[in-house]
Subunit: 250 residues, 2 copies
Protein backbone atom coordinates (compact mmCIF):
# COMPACT_ATOMS: atom_id res chain seq x y z
CA UNK A 1 0.00 0.00 0.00
CA UNK A 2 2.89 2.36 -0.55
CA UNK A 3 1.26 3.74 -3.65
CA UNK A 4 -1.69 6.07 -3.34
CA UNK A 5 -5.14 4.62 -3.67
CA UNK A 6 -6.00 4.09 -7.35
CA UNK A 7 -8.80 6.64 -7.49
CA UNK A 8 -6.52 9.56 -6.73
CA UNK A 9 -3.62 8.49 -8.95
CA UNK A 10 -2.77 10.39 -12.11
CA UNK A 11 -1.95 8.42 -15.27
CA UNK A 12 1.83 8.10 -15.73
CA UNK A 13 2.84 10.19 -18.73
CA UNK A 14 6.19 11.24 -20.22
CA UNK A 15 6.29 14.31 -18.00
CA UNK A 16 5.92 12.17 -14.86
CA UNK A 17 8.59 9.73 -16.08
CA UNK A 18 10.93 12.63 -16.79
CA UNK A 19 10.28 14.15 -13.34
CA UNK A 20 10.88 10.84 -11.57
CA UNK A 21 14.11 10.17 -13.43
CA UNK A 22 15.32 13.72 -12.85
CA UNK A 23 14.72 13.40 -9.09
CA UNK A 24 16.93 10.29 -9.02
CA UNK A 25 19.63 11.60 -11.36
CA UNK A 26 20.04 14.92 -9.54
CA UNK A 27 19.79 13.75 -5.91
CA UNK A 28 22.90 14.39 -3.79
CA UNK A 29 21.52 12.29 -0.95
CA UNK A 30 18.49 10.22 -0.04
CA UNK A 31 16.70 8.75 2.94
CA UNK A 32 17.19 4.99 3.13
CA UNK A 33 14.68 2.76 4.91
CA UNK A 34 15.82 -0.69 5.98
CA UNK A 35 14.51 -3.38 8.29
CA UNK A 36 16.20 -4.26 11.57
CA UNK A 37 16.59 -8.05 11.55
CA UNK A 38 16.40 -8.23 15.34
CA UNK A 39 12.75 -7.22 15.60
CA UNK A 40 11.59 -6.36 12.07
CA UNK A 41 11.19 -2.66 12.83
CA UNK A 42 11.84 -0.12 10.07
CA UNK A 43 14.74 2.30 10.33
CA UNK A 44 15.47 5.36 8.20
CA UNK A 45 18.86 6.97 7.76
CA UNK A 46 20.66 9.29 5.35
CA UNK A 47 22.93 8.17 2.51
CA UNK A 48 24.75 10.19 -0.13
CA UNK A 49 23.69 9.18 -3.62
CA UNK A 50 24.72 8.90 -7.25
CA UNK A 51 23.46 6.72 -10.10
CA UNK A 52 24.85 3.86 -12.12
CA UNK A 53 24.78 4.68 -15.82
CA UNK A 54 21.52 2.74 -16.17
CA UNK A 55 19.86 5.04 -13.64
CA UNK A 56 20.00 2.72 -10.65
CA UNK A 57 20.73 4.64 -7.44
CA UNK A 58 24.15 3.91 -5.91
CA UNK A 59 25.12 4.69 -2.33
CA UNK A 60 28.30 4.36 -0.27
CA UNK A 61 27.88 3.13 3.30
CA UNK A 62 30.04 1.88 6.15
CA UNK A 63 29.97 -1.58 7.62
CA UNK A 64 30.06 0.16 11.00
CA UNK A 65 26.60 1.62 10.42
CA UNK A 66 23.25 0.09 11.24
CA UNK A 67 21.82 0.22 7.72
CA UNK A 68 24.74 -1.87 6.39
CA UNK A 69 24.00 -4.73 8.78
CA UNK A 70 20.28 -4.39 8.11
CA UNK A 71 20.81 -4.71 4.34
CA UNK A 72 23.11 -7.70 4.76
CA UNK A 73 20.30 -9.45 6.65
CA UNK A 74 17.46 -8.30 4.36
CA UNK A 75 18.23 -6.58 1.06
CA UNK A 76 14.75 -5.04 0.79
CA UNK A 77 14.86 -1.28 1.23
CA UNK A 78 13.38 2.01 0.12
CA UNK A 79 14.84 5.35 -0.98
CA UNK A 80 13.26 8.79 -0.81
CA UNK A 81 14.66 11.36 -3.26
CA UNK A 82 13.66 14.99 -3.91
CA UNK A 83 14.26 17.71 -1.34
CA UNK A 84 11.82 20.41 -0.23
CA UNK A 85 12.38 24.05 -1.10
CA UNK A 86 10.57 27.07 0.31
CA UNK A 87 7.10 26.95 1.83
CA UNK A 88 5.12 23.80 2.57
CA UNK A 89 7.54 20.85 2.37
CA UNK A 90 4.77 18.73 0.88
CA UNK A 91 4.33 21.02 -2.12
CA UNK A 92 7.71 19.88 -3.51
CA UNK A 93 8.22 16.82 -5.74
CA UNK A 94 9.67 13.65 -4.22
CA UNK A 95 9.68 9.97 -5.07
CA UNK A 96 9.63 6.82 -2.95
CA UNK A 97 11.54 3.96 -4.57
CA UNK A 98 10.92 0.44 -3.32
CA UNK A 99 13.28 -2.40 -4.17
CA UNK A 100 16.42 -4.19 -3.10
CA UNK A 101 20.08 -3.26 -2.70
CA UNK A 102 23.18 -5.23 -3.63
CA UNK A 103 26.70 -4.80 -2.25
CA UNK A 104 28.94 -4.17 -5.27
CA UNK A 105 32.18 -5.16 -3.50
CA UNK A 106 34.04 -7.70 -5.58
CA UNK A 107 31.76 -7.26 -8.61
CA UNK A 108 32.80 -5.85 -12.01
CA UNK A 109 30.30 -3.00 -11.56
CA UNK A 110 32.06 -1.62 -8.49
CA UNK A 111 34.77 0.41 -10.21
CA UNK A 112 32.45 2.21 -12.60
CA UNK A 113 30.03 2.88 -9.74
CA UNK A 114 32.89 4.34 -7.69
CA UNK A 115 34.13 6.49 -10.58
CA UNK A 116 30.67 7.93 -11.22
CA UNK A 117 29.94 8.34 -7.51
CA UNK A 118 33.13 10.29 -6.81
CA UNK A 119 32.57 12.60 -9.77
CA UNK A 120 29.19 13.45 -8.21
CA UNK A 121 30.40 13.45 -4.58
CA UNK A 122 34.10 14.39 -4.69
CA UNK A 123 34.39 14.73 -0.90
CA UNK A 124 33.58 11.04 -0.50
CA UNK A 125 37.05 10.30 -1.97
CA UNK A 126 38.31 10.80 1.60
CA UNK A 127 36.71 7.54 2.73
CA UNK A 128 35.47 5.64 -0.35
CA UNK A 129 38.39 3.20 -0.18
CA UNK A 130 38.31 2.64 3.58
CA UNK A 131 37.97 -1.11 4.14
CA UNK A 132 34.66 -0.74 5.99
CA UNK A 133 33.01 1.21 3.15
CA UNK A 134 31.20 -0.39 0.23
CA UNK A 135 29.17 0.78 -2.76
CA UNK A 136 25.65 -0.62 -2.96
CA UNK A 137 23.41 -0.54 -6.02
CA UNK A 138 19.64 -0.23 -5.66
CA UNK A 139 17.25 -2.02 -8.02
CA UNK A 140 13.78 -0.52 -8.21
CA UNK A 141 10.75 -2.79 -7.99
CA UNK A 142 8.15 -0.01 -7.96
CA UNK A 143 7.92 3.64 -7.04
CA UNK A 144 5.51 6.29 -5.86
CA UNK A 145 6.01 9.75 -7.32
CA UNK A 146 4.46 12.75 -5.64
CA UNK A 147 4.74 15.90 -7.73
CA UNK A 148 2.99 18.02 -5.10
CA UNK A 149 -0.61 18.11 -3.87
CA UNK A 150 -2.95 16.16 -6.14
CA UNK A 151 -0.12 14.93 -8.36
CA UNK A 152 0.50 11.34 -7.29
CA UNK A 153 1.66 8.59 -9.63
CA UNK A 154 2.30 4.86 -9.25
CA UNK A 155 5.52 4.50 -11.22
CA UNK A 156 6.86 1.18 -12.46
CA UNK A 157 10.49 0.11 -12.78
CA UNK A 158 10.11 0.28 -16.56
CA UNK A 159 8.87 3.88 -16.32
CA UNK A 160 12.23 4.72 -14.74
CA UNK A 161 14.37 2.45 -16.93
CA UNK A 162 17.09 3.85 -19.15
CA UNK A 163 17.24 2.66 -22.81
CA UNK A 164 19.92 0.00 -22.87
CA UNK A 165 21.36 0.12 -26.41
CA UNK A 166 24.24 2.52 -25.68
CA UNK A 167 24.96 1.54 -22.07
CA UNK A 168 27.91 -0.75 -22.74
CA UNK A 169 29.67 1.40 -25.31
CA UNK A 170 29.09 4.59 -23.32
CA UNK A 171 30.42 2.95 -20.18
CA UNK A 172 33.72 2.31 -21.95
CA UNK A 173 34.26 5.93 -22.95
CA UNK A 174 32.48 7.84 -20.15
CA UNK A 175 35.44 8.63 -17.92
CA UNK A 176 37.60 9.82 -20.81
CA UNK A 177 34.79 11.81 -22.42
CA UNK A 178 33.95 13.55 -19.15
CA UNK A 179 37.61 14.43 -18.50
CA UNK A 180 37.96 15.75 -22.07
CA UNK A 181 34.85 17.91 -21.84
CA UNK A 182 35.94 19.45 -18.53
CA UNK A 183 39.53 20.00 -19.66
CA UNK A 184 38.95 21.28 -23.19
CA UNK A 185 35.31 22.35 -23.46
CA UNK A 186 34.44 24.01 -20.15
CA UNK A 187 32.63 26.73 -22.12
CA UNK A 188 30.32 24.15 -23.69
CA UNK A 189 29.66 22.58 -20.26
CA UNK A 190 28.67 26.01 -18.97
CA UNK A 191 26.24 26.41 -21.88
CA UNK A 192 24.78 22.93 -21.21
CA UNK A 193 24.25 23.94 -17.56
CA UNK A 194 22.47 27.15 -18.59
CA UNK A 195 20.26 25.16 -20.95
CA UNK A 196 19.52 22.80 -18.05
CA UNK A 197 18.28 25.68 -15.93
CA UNK A 198 21.39 26.89 -14.08
CA UNK A 199 21.41 30.56 -13.07
CA UNK A 200 24.94 31.09 -14.41
CA UNK A 201 27.30 29.34 -16.83
CA UNK A 202 30.28 29.70 -14.49
CA UNK A 203 31.75 26.98 -12.30
CA UNK A 204 30.03 23.92 -13.78
CA UNK A 205 31.70 20.58 -14.38
CA UNK A 206 30.34 17.61 -16.26
CA UNK A 207 30.04 14.83 -13.67
CA UNK A 208 28.34 11.87 -15.37
CA UNK A 209 26.67 11.04 -18.65
CA UNK A 210 24.28 8.33 -19.73
CA UNK A 211 22.19 7.49 -22.81
CA UNK A 212 19.55 10.05 -21.87
CA UNK A 213 21.53 13.07 -20.74
CA UNK A 214 24.27 14.86 -18.83
CA UNK A 215 24.54 15.57 -15.10
CA UNK A 216 26.56 18.64 -14.16
CA UNK A 217 27.70 19.90 -10.76
CA UNK A 218 28.79 23.24 -9.32
CA UNK A 219 29.58 22.95 -5.63
CA UNK A 220 26.44 21.43 -4.10
CA UNK A 221 24.25 22.20 -7.09
CA UNK A 222 23.32 19.55 -9.64
CA UNK A 223 21.55 20.09 -12.96
CA UNK A 224 20.62 17.61 -15.66
CA UNK A 225 20.40 18.24 -19.40
CA UNK A 226 18.23 15.77 -21.27
CA UNK A 227 19.15 14.78 -24.82
CA UNK A 228 16.36 15.21 -27.38
CA UNK A 229 16.43 11.43 -27.91
CA UNK A 230 18.33 8.63 -26.13
CA UNK A 231 21.70 7.71 -27.61
CA UNK A 232 21.74 4.36 -29.40
CA UNK A 233 25.54 4.05 -29.28
CA UNK A 234 28.61 5.86 -27.92
CA UNK A 235 29.36 7.07 -31.46
CA UNK A 236 26.34 9.35 -31.23
CA UNK A 237 27.73 11.17 -28.18
CA UNK A 238 30.14 13.53 -29.91
CA UNK A 239 27.74 14.82 -32.61
CA UNK A 240 24.99 15.24 -29.99
CA UNK A 241 27.30 17.25 -27.71
CA UNK A 242 28.46 19.40 -30.62
CA UNK A 243 24.88 20.07 -31.73
CA UNK A 244 23.82 20.90 -28.15
CA UNK A 245 26.70 23.37 -27.78
CA UNK A 246 25.75 25.05 -31.08
CA UNK A 247 22.06 25.22 -30.16
CA UNK A 248 22.98 26.74 -26.81
CA UNK A 249 25.00 29.49 -28.48
CA UNK A 250 22.17 30.71 -30.67
Amino acid sequence: MTDKKPDILQPVDDSARRLGKTLVRTARFASLATIDPLDGSPSVSRVSLATAMDGSPVFLISRLSGHFANLEADSRCSLLVGEPGKGDPLAHPRMTLIGTAENLSGTPARDQAKSRFLRRNPKAALYADFPDFAFWKFTTTRASLNGGFGRAYAVSASDLACPAAALESLSEIEEGAVAHMNADHADAVGRYALKAGAATAEGWRLATLDPEGLDMTSGDEVVRLWFDAPLMSAQELRPVLVALARKSES
Copy 2:
Protein backbone atom coordinates in the same frame (compact mmCIF):
# COMPACT_ATOMS: atom_id res chain seq x y z
CA MET B 1 21.30 -3.22 14.56
CA THR B 2 20.12 0.27 13.77
CA ASP B 3 22.57 1.73 16.22
CA LYS B 4 26.22 1.85 15.35
CA LYS B 5 28.44 -0.92 16.62
CA PRO B 6 29.26 -0.32 20.28
CA ASP B 7 32.99 0.18 19.78
CA ILE B 8 32.52 3.27 17.65
CA LEU B 9 29.80 4.85 19.76
CA GLN B 10 30.44 7.97 21.82
CA PRO B 11 29.09 8.16 25.37
CA VAL B 12 25.79 10.08 25.46
CA ASP B 13 26.37 13.36 27.29
CA ASP B 14 24.27 16.50 27.84
CA SER B 15 25.55 18.00 24.61
CA ALA B 16 24.39 14.96 22.61
CA ARG B 17 20.98 15.01 24.36
CA ARG B 18 20.62 18.70 23.59
CA LEU B 19 21.57 18.16 19.94
CA GLY B 20 19.12 15.29 19.55
CA LYS B 21 16.26 17.20 21.13
CA THR B 22 17.04 20.30 19.06
CA LEU B 23 16.94 18.27 15.83
CA VAL B 24 13.44 17.05 16.73
CA ARG B 25 12.11 20.37 18.03
CA THR B 26 13.30 22.39 15.02
CA ALA B 27 12.47 19.96 12.20
CA ARG B 28 9.95 21.27 9.64
CA PHE B 29 9.68 17.84 8.05
CA ALA B 30 11.04 14.32 8.36
CA SER B 31 11.44 11.10 6.43
CA LEU B 32 9.02 8.44 7.66
CA ALA B 33 9.76 4.74 7.21
CA THR B 34 6.86 2.32 7.43
CA ILE B 35 6.29 -1.31 6.51
CA ASP B 36 4.01 -2.36 3.66
CA PRO B 37 1.70 -5.02 5.12
CA LEU B 38 1.33 -6.72 1.73
CA ASP B 39 4.90 -7.98 1.53
CA GLY B 40 6.74 -6.57 4.55
CA SER B 41 8.93 -4.28 2.47
CA PRO B 42 10.03 -0.94 3.93
CA SER B 43 8.83 2.32 2.42
CA VAL B 44 10.08 5.83 3.09
CA SER B 45 8.11 9.02 2.47
CA ARG B 46 8.09 12.66 3.56
CA VAL B 47 5.93 14.11 6.32
CA SER B 48 5.76 17.62 7.72
CA LEU B 49 6.52 17.66 11.43
CA ALA B 50 5.94 19.41 14.73
CA THR B 51 6.18 18.21 18.34
CA ALA B 52 3.74 17.56 21.15
CA MET B 53 4.67 19.59 24.22
CA ASP B 54 6.43 16.54 25.67
CA GLY B 55 8.74 16.42 22.66
CA SER B 56 7.05 13.57 20.81
CA PRO B 57 7.08 14.16 17.05
CA VAL B 58 3.63 14.81 15.53
CA PHE B 59 2.82 14.52 11.84
CA LEU B 60 -0.27 15.13 9.71
CA ILE B 61 -1.00 12.59 6.99
CA SER B 62 -3.81 11.65 4.63
CA ARG B 63 -5.72 8.42 4.62
CA LEU B 64 -5.31 8.47 0.85
CA SER B 65 -1.54 7.99 1.22
CA GLY B 66 0.37 4.77 1.45
CA HIS B 67 2.05 5.49 4.78
CA PHE B 68 -1.34 5.95 6.47
CA ALA B 69 -2.49 2.46 5.49
CA ASN B 70 0.90 1.03 6.40
CA LEU B 71 0.72 2.54 9.92
CA GLU B 72 -2.83 1.32 10.42
CA ALA B 73 -1.60 -2.21 9.70
CA ASP B 74 1.66 -1.94 11.68
CA SER B 75 2.32 1.05 13.92
CA ARG B 76 6.08 0.48 13.99
CA CYS B 77 7.92 3.21 12.11
CA SER B 78 11.02 5.37 12.02
CA LEU B 79 11.67 9.08 11.55
CA LEU B 80 14.79 10.79 10.24
CA VAL B 81 15.25 14.43 11.31
CA GLY B 82 18.05 16.89 10.60
CA GLU B 83 18.66 18.27 7.12
CA PRO B 84 22.03 18.59 5.36
CA GLY B 85 23.57 21.97 4.64
CA LYS B 86 26.51 22.75 2.39
CA GLY B 87 29.20 20.25 1.47
CA ASP B 88 29.14 16.55 2.25
CA PRO B 89 25.57 15.67 3.29
CA LEU B 90 26.96 13.19 5.81
CA ALA B 91 28.89 15.86 7.69
CA HIS B 92 25.62 17.31 9.02
CA PRO B 93 23.83 16.15 12.20
CA ARG B 94 20.78 13.91 11.90
CA MET B 95 18.92 11.46 14.08
CA THR B 96 17.06 8.23 13.38
CA LEU B 97 14.14 7.69 15.76
CA ILE B 98 12.66 4.21 16.06
CA GLY B 99 9.28 3.65 17.66
CA THR B 100 5.57 3.53 17.02
CA ALA B 101 2.93 5.99 15.87
CA GLU B 102 -0.62 6.50 17.12
CA ASN B 103 -3.52 8.14 15.28
CA LEU B 104 -4.73 10.96 17.55
CA SER B 105 -8.18 11.22 15.93
CA GLY B 106 -10.85 11.11 18.61
CA THR B 107 -8.34 11.41 21.48
CA PRO B 108 -8.07 14.34 23.91
CA ALA B 109 -4.52 15.01 22.67
CA ARG B 110 -5.64 15.79 19.12
CA ASP B 111 -6.66 19.43 19.58
CA GLN B 112 -3.47 20.49 21.32
CA ALA B 113 -1.42 18.62 18.74
CA LYS B 114 -3.30 20.43 15.97
CA SER B 115 -2.88 23.82 17.62
CA ARG B 116 0.88 23.35 18.04
CA PHE B 117 1.28 21.83 14.57
CA LEU B 118 -0.48 24.72 12.81
CA ARG B 119 1.55 27.32 14.68
CA ARG B 120 4.64 25.56 13.33
CA ASN B 121 3.22 24.79 9.85
CA PRO B 122 0.59 27.49 9.16
CA LYS B 123 0.09 26.42 5.53
CA ALA B 124 -1.21 23.05 6.71
CA ALA B 125 -4.33 24.88 7.92
CA LEU B 126 -5.56 24.53 4.33
CA TYR B 127 -6.06 20.78 4.76
CA ALA B 128 -5.66 19.89 8.45
CA ASP B 129 -9.42 19.52 8.91
CA PHE B 130 -10.08 17.58 5.71
CA PRO B 131 -11.83 14.35 6.69
CA ASP B 132 -9.05 12.17 5.24
CA PHE B 133 -6.31 13.89 7.27
CA ALA B 134 -5.28 12.86 10.77
CA PHE B 135 -2.60 13.85 13.28
CA TRP B 136 -0.33 11.03 14.42
CA LYS B 137 1.94 11.07 17.44
CA PHE B 138 5.24 9.21 17.44
CA THR B 139 6.60 7.53 20.57
CA THR B 140 10.33 6.91 20.56
CA THR B 141 11.66 3.50 21.61
CA ARG B 142 15.29 4.23 20.79
CA ALA B 143 17.31 6.52 18.56
CA SER B 144 20.58 6.79 16.72
CA LEU B 145 22.16 10.24 16.67
CA ASN B 146 24.84 11.05 14.13
CA GLY B 147 26.51 14.39 14.76
CA GLY B 148 28.80 14.03 11.74
CA PHE B 149 31.71 11.73 11.00
CA GLY B 150 32.93 9.92 14.11
CA ARG B 151 30.16 11.34 16.30
CA ALA B 152 27.63 8.52 16.65
CA TYR B 153 25.49 7.98 19.73
CA ALA B 154 22.95 5.35 20.75
CA VAL B 155 20.27 7.53 22.33
CA SER B 156 17.53 6.21 24.59
CA ALA B 157 13.96 7.43 24.87
CA SER B 158 14.80 8.84 28.31
CA ASP B 159 17.71 10.81 26.85
CA LEU B 160 15.14 12.61 24.68
CA ALA B 161 12.40 12.87 27.31
CA CYS B 162 11.10 16.23 28.47
CA PRO B 163 10.78 16.83 32.27
CA ALA B 164 7.13 16.23 33.05
CA ALA B 165 6.39 18.47 36.06
CA ALA B 166 5.13 21.52 34.12
CA LEU B 167 3.58 19.73 31.12
CA GLU B 168 -0.02 19.81 32.27
CA SER B 169 -0.10 23.37 33.57
CA LEU B 170 1.85 24.71 30.59
CA SER B 171 -0.51 22.94 28.18
CA GLU B 172 -3.40 24.87 29.68
CA ILE B 173 -1.85 28.28 29.12
CA GLU B 174 0.31 27.72 26.02
CA GLU B 175 -2.02 28.99 23.32
CA GLY B 176 -2.88 32.16 25.25
CA ALA B 177 0.72 32.81 26.27
CA VAL B 178 1.97 32.42 22.71
CA ALA B 179 -0.73 34.75 21.34
CA HIS B 180 0.08 37.33 24.04
CA MET B 181 3.82 37.24 23.35
CA ASN B 182 3.32 37.68 19.61
CA ALA B 183 0.71 40.43 20.01
CA ASP B 184 2.27 42.46 22.79
CA HIS B 185 5.93 41.46 23.05
CA ALA B 186 7.15 40.98 19.49
CA ASP B 187 10.33 42.86 20.43
CA ALA B 188 11.12 40.29 23.14
CA VAL B 189 10.45 37.43 20.70
CA GLY B 190 12.93 39.00 18.31
CA ARG B 191 15.52 39.16 21.10
CA TYR B 192 14.87 35.50 22.00
CA ALA B 193 15.43 34.57 18.35
CA LEU B 194 18.72 36.47 18.24
CA LYS B 195 19.82 34.72 21.44
CA ALA B 196 18.86 31.40 19.79
CA GLY B 197 21.18 32.10 16.87
CA ALA B 198 18.97 33.94 14.36
CA ALA B 199 20.76 36.33 12.01
CA THR B 200 18.22 39.11 12.62
CA ALA B 201 15.59 39.97 15.22
CA GLU B 202 13.00 40.89 12.59
CA GLY B 203 10.08 38.75 11.49
CA TRP B 204 10.09 36.11 14.23
CA ARG B 205 7.00 34.69 15.88
CA LEU B 206 6.81 32.46 18.91
CA ALA B 207 5.30 29.19 17.66
CA THR B 208 5.39 26.73 20.55
CA LEU B 209 6.74 26.50 24.08
CA ASP B 210 7.45 23.62 26.41
CA PRO B 211 9.13 23.08 29.81
CA GLU B 212 12.59 23.27 28.25
CA GLY B 213 12.38 26.15 25.81
CA LEU B 214 10.78 28.19 23.04
CA ASP B 215 10.49 27.43 19.32
CA MET B 216 10.29 30.44 17.04
CA THR B 217 9.60 30.67 13.31
CA SER B 218 10.25 33.20 10.58
CA GLY B 219 9.03 31.97 7.21
CA ASP B 220 10.68 28.58 6.77
CA GLU B 221 13.29 29.16 9.47
CA VAL B 222 12.98 27.66 12.94
CA VAL B 223 15.15 28.44 15.97
CA ARG B 224 14.94 27.14 19.49
CA LEU B 225 15.89 28.95 22.68
CA TRP B 226 16.63 26.68 25.63
CA PHE B 227 15.75 27.78 29.15
CA ASP B 228 18.62 27.65 31.66
CA ALA B 229 16.65 25.02 33.59
CA PRO B 230 13.38 23.21 32.84
CA LEU B 231 10.23 24.86 34.16
CA MET B 232 8.62 23.05 37.09
CA SER B 233 5.24 24.78 36.66
CA ALA B 234 3.44 27.21 34.36
CA GLN B 235 3.85 29.90 37.01
CA GLU B 236 7.57 29.95 36.28
CA LEU B 237 7.00 30.88 32.62
CA ARG B 238 6.41 34.59 33.00
CA PRO B 239 9.41 35.38 35.24
CA VAL B 240 11.65 33.23 33.01
CA LEU B 241 10.49 35.07 29.87
CA VAL B 242 10.99 38.44 31.55
CA ALA B 243 14.48 37.50 32.72
CA LEU B 244 15.39 36.17 29.26
CA ALA B 245 14.22 39.40 27.63
CA ARG B 246 16.28 41.46 30.09
CA LYS B 247 19.35 39.30 29.63
CA SER B 248 19.01 39.62 25.87
CA GLU B 249 18.93 43.43 26.11
CA SER B 250 22.19 43.72 27.97
